[in-house]
């Protein structure tokens, strides 16, 4: 079996699956259970200065797919609501029990040098493996000048990162908020401040839905609500893009990335690693299924690596980065068209109506003697958009076939149709 051993920003863990800083890592009881289940590491739920935060009742809401599975998850919970002392004591004890697991501590204190200096020293004494700076919490804490309020100002990110590096010998991971316009600015700031790594994404400002009877967003706290932080499978595409932006950015090249955002399966994890992530952090999947889900994640990742001949995570880490490029470098001479396998077509007509109504009228409908319809691709009209393949409910019924494969690579910069052609 492939070796899942992970060394991330100097922190070692038996596998890349860490639990993200969140309710599942709130206290020793949970973290012990997580380690027993096989998680490679945890980021302990964010510590702050005493007195501890106070949470409200009713904290989560979700959106679901057609079968009722959670696809997006929203929370309005604040950082730990337990005292600093209890948390530190538990962290120390857990780390002693589980020396081979990664134990990183998430932190959030006011934007003052003394506050950060104090807390990083305290954490260092617990034997924890690293620090994660929570610059991302999008709800509640920003109203107090913390969390995303710091993460949204690159200068603050750099400043606080520098303090932490100055006062602690532990690796510093800066957790980035996605609630910004360009993630690279935050990453560059963390890098400039001396961060050992970044982790992303934190949750996205969200309202998951409105209770149309009470006319209030969910979750409902006595008739009122507030925006929360969005996570779960629905945010994965946003997270993948932000990870790739940082991985591709020459200014942050080589900066370790801990990937976070909707990771629910081994495949999700492999995708983040392919885009350069050194470890992955999971929360929603564990909250929906329990800690045991890591069993299937580890097993699936190992077997897939075996099938590909990858012996270690480094063997495929970042391999998709080089193939993620700007639009202008895409091959204008690449042409694919849809092809329908008539044997497996069930005649639902979804491809036809989607193409006819909303795309390129590239599918014909022919009534058959038995009352069903036959659907055929009109290749001359097909632009290879994939819509028919996406809407088709049958696996491998519609495939996209390469045409004119003998044409040479030509990007938009060289394309004679480009009115601003840089080459001309």
């Amino acid at each position: 079996m492939a070796n899942l051993f992970t060394r991330f920003a100097g922190i070692e863990s038996p596998n890349p699956f860490w639990l993200a800083s969140a309710p599942p890592t709130d206290k020793a009881y949970n973290v012990e259970r997580a380690f027993e289940a096989g998680w490679g590491g945890v980021v302990w739920k964010t510590l702050g200065e005493d007195p501890a935060a106070v949470n409200v009742s009713s904290r989560y809401s979700a959106i679901y797919d057609a079968t009722g599975q959670v696809t997006g998850f929203n929370n309005i919970e604040l950082i730990t609501d337990r005292s600093l002392e209890i948390n530190l004591r538990e962290i120390e004890a857990v780390k002693k029990n589980w020396p081979d697991r990664a134990l990183v501590v998430s932190l959030m204190v006011p934007c003052e040098e003394e506050s950060w200096k104090t807390i990083v020293k305290l954490v260092e004494q617990t034997g924890a493996d690293g620090l994660e700076l929570n610059f991302g919490c999008p709800h509640g804490m920003p109203e107090r000048g913390m969390g995303a309020a710091v993460g949204q100002v690159p200068e603050f990110v750099e400043m606080v990162t520098r303090w932490c590096k100055m006062y602690s010998r532990l690796p510093v991971i800066v957790k980035l908020t996605p609630n910004i316009t360009d993630i690279r600015f935050s990453a560059r700031a963390a890098h400039a401040g001396g961060a050992d790594a970044v982790s992303l994404i934190n949750t996205i400002n969200s309202i998951t839905g409105i209770d149309l009877d009470q006319m209030v967003a969910r979750p409902i706290v006595d008739g009122k609500s507030t925006h929360g932080g969005y996570c779960g499978p629905a945010v994965k595409p946003i997270a993948l893009n932000m990870v790739s932006e940082i991985a591709r950015d020459p200014q942050t090249q080589g900066l370790p990335i801990s990937g976070i955002g909707g990771i629910s399966t081994w495949r999700d994890a492999a995708e983040f690693i392919a885009l350069g992530a050194g470890s992955v952090q999971v929360c929603t999947a564990a909250m929906v299924h329990g800690f045991r889900i890591v069993t299937e994640m580890q097993d699936g990742l190992s077997r897939w690596m075996d099938s590909k001949g990858y012996q270690t995570l480094d063997d495929f880490r970042g391999l998709a980065v080089q193939n993620t490029t700007d639009w202008k470098y895409l091959n204008m001479n690449y042409k694919i068209v849809a092809s329908i396998d008539q044997q497996s077509c069930i005649g639902c007509g979804r491809c036809y109506i989607s193409c006819e109504d909303t795309s390129h009228q590239a599918i014909s409908l022919t009534p058959k003697a038995d009352g069903t319809n036959q659907f055929d691709i009109i290749e001359s009209e097909c632009v290879g958009c994939n819509l028919c393949q996406i809407t088709c409910p049958v696996n491998d019924c519609i495939s996209m076939v390469r045409k004119e494969a003998d044409k040479p690579y030509m990007n938009w910069l060289n394309d004679p149709r480009n009115p601003y052609g840089e080459a001309r």
Binding site: A66, T67, G68, I346, G347, C348, G349, R350, Y352, I353, L365, G371, T372, N373, P393, V394, N395
Partner: protein
């Protein structure tokens, strides 16, 4: 209607009612949500083409899925006002569910359209009636028969603003839904509640105990109304044409089912210890299964041809097998065997086979002992008035109608089982009643050129 007691009376099980609950239990909210998610919302959907009443199935399932049961029910009722009973009695396995593209997918199982339709019609709540009537036209239409065809026709006519009077021969409206459907397919008083719902549109007067040919004549209806719709179904039953057919223990299946459906106390129903059912349609299956549920120990269904020729669907045949009903094909009833008191004690059957496409007897015969024999060999048209033989055209033993459901008589239309159109399915009767109403409306309110 009196039922001759069978020779041997069994005691039905004490908790007999539990054997007559829904054969297909309704979906829960959660099941309906999951099942509705399976619908692919096909374009030019095969299920709609397969529905005799043209229900927009993908649309109502999408409405169920988006928590809009009222909209779903309205979609169903707008094509089929008896959508509730059709959800229960339709042979969906040869209609919408057979056409469902999910049959061809890897899962090889259709969306449970019938049960979803039932979910919507059972749970939708309306303030008042879901349809309103057009402005009164001043036209009056007589509908003969308060079965599915007549009710469907009456409802559509009322919607169009016409005044409708229904003449029903029986004590209760509903037709076969009230008197002829297996009790485990349509439970409790659903048939009566559905009629009440349909009449809720207003503009329809129901006369029960008013039989055409007995209490009212066609000539009176023709002169007293602007149009007449005939939907009186099939009131006769086929005979075996054997000696002793009137002997004690030989029954028409429809009579027994009628008693069974109307019984307030099932434990009072006479039950034979062993029975033979002759027939190959859904009525034969229905009575065979219900006899088993009533406690009859041995039920054999005999049919002179093979399984492939049975008009009961494969699904219905399976239900019979699940009830441990023995199906004897290629067996033609030959001699009714009586005891000294003239009561039925058995049946001799002749083995048959096909010879050059013709059904022929073999030299083999066998005997089935039984206390009761139930004939389910088909229902026949009984013309309420002898004159009708000349006035109306008979085709294949039933009333001929043209594509607009017109009979040869001026302003007289017909639909449902009494006509030669379709396979006598409830859903077809509903559609024919609806389309006849549209034709009547065109006749009464011609569009000005």
């Amino acid at each position: 209607m009196s039922l001759q007691p069978p020779v041997t009376k069994m005691s039905p099980p004490q908790d007999i009612d539990q054997y007559f609950t829904d054969i297909h239990p309704p979906l829960t909210d959660r099941q309906a949500l999951l099942e509705s998610a399976r619908c692919l919302y096909c374009f030019d959907a095969p299920c709609i083409k397969a529905c005799p009443s043209d229900i927009n199935i993908p649309s109502f399932i999408q409405q169920i899925h988006t928590d809009n049961l009222q909209g779903a029910a309205q979609t169903i009722y707008s094509s089929n006002i008896l959508g509730g009973s059709c959800a229960r009695v339709c042979p969906t396995e040869i209609l919408c569910e057979q056409a469902c593209v999910r049959n061809k997918e890897a899962e090889c199982a259709p969306v449970l359209i019938g049960l979803l339709q039932r979910h919507a019609t059972d749970h939708a709540e309306f303030e008042g009636h879901p349809f309103s009537r057009a402005a009164a036209t001043g036209k009056r239409v007589a509908v003969v028969g308060a079965g599915p065809a007549g009710l469907s026709c009456a409802h559509r006519l009322a919607m169009k603003g016409h005044q409708v009077e229904i003449f029903e021969a029986s004590e209760k409206p509903g037709g076969l839904n009230e008197y002829g459907i297996a009790r485990y397919k349509m439970t409790d008083d659903f048939a009566a509640r559905e009629v009440e719902f349909i009449l809720g549109i207003g503009g329809i007067t129901l006369h029960t105990h008013k039989a055409l040919g007995r209490d009212v004549s066609l000539a009176e209806l023709q002169s007293g109304f602007d149009a007449v719709f005939l939907g009186f179904g099939l009131q006769g039953t086929r005979k075996l044409l054997l000696e002793h057919e009137s002997a004690k223990g030989v029954e028409d299946a429809v009579d027994y089912i009628r008693v069974l459906r109307q019984a307030s106390d099932l434990s009072q129903i006479p039950v034979p210890q062993s029975a033979v059912v002759i027939g190959a349609g859904n009525t034969a299956i229905d009575i065979a299964c219900q006899l088993r549920r009533l406690g009859c120990e041995e039920v054999t269904l005999a049919y002179r041809r093979g399984e492939e020729s049975m008009s009961a669907t494969g699904h219905e045949q399976q239900i019979a097998r699940d009830h441990q009903v023995r199906i004897r094909t290629w067996s033609r009833p030959e001699v009714l065997l009586l005891n000294d008191q003239g009561e039925l004690q058995g049946l001799q059957l002749r083995r048959t086979r096909l010879e050059a496409g013709e059904l022929v007897d073999t030299d083999q015969a066998f005997t089935l002992p039984c206390d009761a024999l139930f004939k389910a060999v088909g229902q026949t048209l009984v013309l309420p008035e002898p004159d009708m033989q000349e006035q109306l055209q008979i085709e294949g033993g039933k009333l001929w109608v043209d594509a607009q459901y017109r009979t040869p008589l001026d302003k007289v239309f017909a639909g449902g089982d009494c006509t030669s159109v379709g396979q006598d399915l409830t859903v077809e009767a509903v559609q024919q009643g609806k389309l006849a109403a549209e034709s009547i409306h065109q006749l009464l309110m011609p569009v000005q050129a």
